[in-house]
Symmetry: C2
Subunit: 327 residues, 2 copies
């Protein structure tokens, strides 16, 4: 049995707890939280909940810590810290800071002879794998990543900061005509506006100026200005009924040409359609916990990304079984 | 520079020669054929063409041999033979014989301390990777593989063996309604007939009995009997104009449920839309030639499949660059 710990019990942590139940070779030993452990209500009452400061006491009892904190504030500190004591998996997704984060976790894991899979999830993660794979196979081609339809927390937060807004959700939606052009192998140059559009559902305080709010959203720099943005005002009941989920997804599409005369178009597409973004991400983290455990037992230490880990390590099946059943 | 040799100069070999030109770190040293080398007209006249019996003389001059022969007759012999002298990549695609083939190539490559990537292509290959990945992430789900729209050589050959048939091509086509059910997360149990249909375009000899031929096709056991099969008779001109390409493709779709109450459906989809099946397959072989070269330099010897090789090995970029640009 692979003994797992979860650090952080928000949406990701809850998803990880549920996901572990589907893996017969894994056992959840404990959940660690910054809150008062008594206030945490988790799925399985037989699983211990501890304050995060107690985690160090579990050295030797936990094989892999799944770090379920956020990339902005939690992981930059937790990643290097926990890899001093445990094998770890995390979903660090601040693309521009990955090199720096990798270096910090790598140094820490090398010193402790642990293995740490960083930036695991779907983007970075499964989408990155498909970008690398497609580019390596068809180097004379072009890759496109589209996100959505899905909820962007950052954009939803930005709307909620506007005066008079009570509740808001923003969906990022890929522009269908552009998707079609890419799939048809046209290799278009696409502007920001041509790739995604933004759809906002907003609940306002009584007496708020809807026109003013709508204008403020649509002209907001960085978030909405460069996009076709649609704002719909709805009642609080509608909001609670239709817009509290966390769907997401997206597409990585690569098209390239092959043959002596480059006459043939080839299209590789990977897509996700997710009803729960955090539950899916945590399912990926759990599969990579198995990989990290095995890599460490083989002495493959340090920080690893999805580019470094052979797929066979993710599966509970034997190599013989994989070749016979899945190849 | 990675020095490459190609064994076998049919559709795959020609595709490999064209693909190598797009990789700045690779050089095609020689092509080996069972035909009289003088009769082989390849793309680049500066590349030597030799009889396959001469290949052994190139030990030390070629880093990786790309084996472009067929799985029925060529590879069972060539795989174990060439891995005695060279690192190799091949597209062995006889699914039921993969374990046996793996063992033969592995024994040979271990003895010579070479590295051999077997069963590289898109199925087995990219499709297998997606089956493993999806099943590992969502073990409580179900995977489906659909092929097409694409030409099946085996089925086309079967039609051509019927008396009175001059030319024929058969397209395997996924059933759209079933694709939709799978994408919607219904996890249906699908019969053979519900997964694919077959479309045949046939040119007959003068005076042939079309009705009889059509009946013979539609009732042919194993090939057509269990499918919805459509037969269209066309002129030889139409055939030459519209049906001499080698398109193919397909879909690997996995849907699974996550969360404490298994309330959320998650769909992972990988698809290919190929205008030239052999050119795409050979493009994959070429990318894996780079991986095999590197693995061997690191002492990772023996037979490998797509499950064993980290994606980073496929790319000419450095690990730092991959993390910064593609992760």
């Amino acid at each position: 049995m692979i003994k797992i710990g979860i650090v952080g019990y928000g949406n990701l942590g809850r998803g990880a707890e549920a996901a572990i139940r589907h893996h017969a070779d894994m056992e959840l030993v404990a959940i660690f939280t910054r809150r008062d452990p008594k206030t945490v209500i988790n799925l399985d009452k037989s699983v211990q909940v501890w304050h995060v400061d107690k985690a160090r006491d579990f050295v030797g009892e936990i094989d892999v810590m799944i770090l379920c904190g956020g990339s902005a504030n939690d992981l930059p500190e937790q990643g290097p810290y926990f890899s001093r004591f445990f094998n770890t998996v995390d979903s660090f997704d601040n693309h521009s800071k990955i090199p720096e984060y990798y270096n910090a976790v790598h140094a820490s894991a090398m010193a402790s002879r642990k293995t740490s899979a960083i930036s695991i999830g779907w983007d970075p993660g499964l989408f990155s794998m498909n970008r690398l794979l497609a580019e390596s196979i068809l180097p004379q081609g072009k890759s496109y990543t589209f996100w959505g339809k899905g909820v962007s927390q950052g954009h939803s937060d930005a709307i909620r900061r506007i005066k008079g807004v009570k509740k808001a959700v923003q969906y990022t939606i890929p522009v269908q005509e552009s998707l079609k052009k890419v799939r048809d192998g046209e290799m278009p140059d696409l502007t920001t506006r041509e790739k995604h559009r933004r759809e906002c559902f907003v609940v306002v305080e009584e007496g708020a100026d809807k026109e003013k709010i709508s204008h403020e959203i649509k002209t907001m720099p960085a978030y909405f200005k460069d996009y076709e943005t649609k704002v719909t005002f709805i009642s609080e009941e509608e909001f609670m009924r239709d817009h509290t989920g966390m769907p997401h997804g997206g597409f990585v599409i690569h098209s390239g040409r092959t043959g002596a005369a480059a006459a043939h178009n080839q299209v590789i597409e990977f897509s996700l359609q997710l009803e729960s973004n955090p539950e899916f991400t945590s399912s990926i983290l759990v599969a990579y916990a198995r990989a990290v455990y095995r890599l460490n037992r083989e002495g493959q230490i340090g920080a690893k990304t999805v580019f470094d880990i052979p797929l066979a390590y993710l599966s509970s099946r034997t190599p013989e079984d994989l070749r016979r059943e899945l190849l």
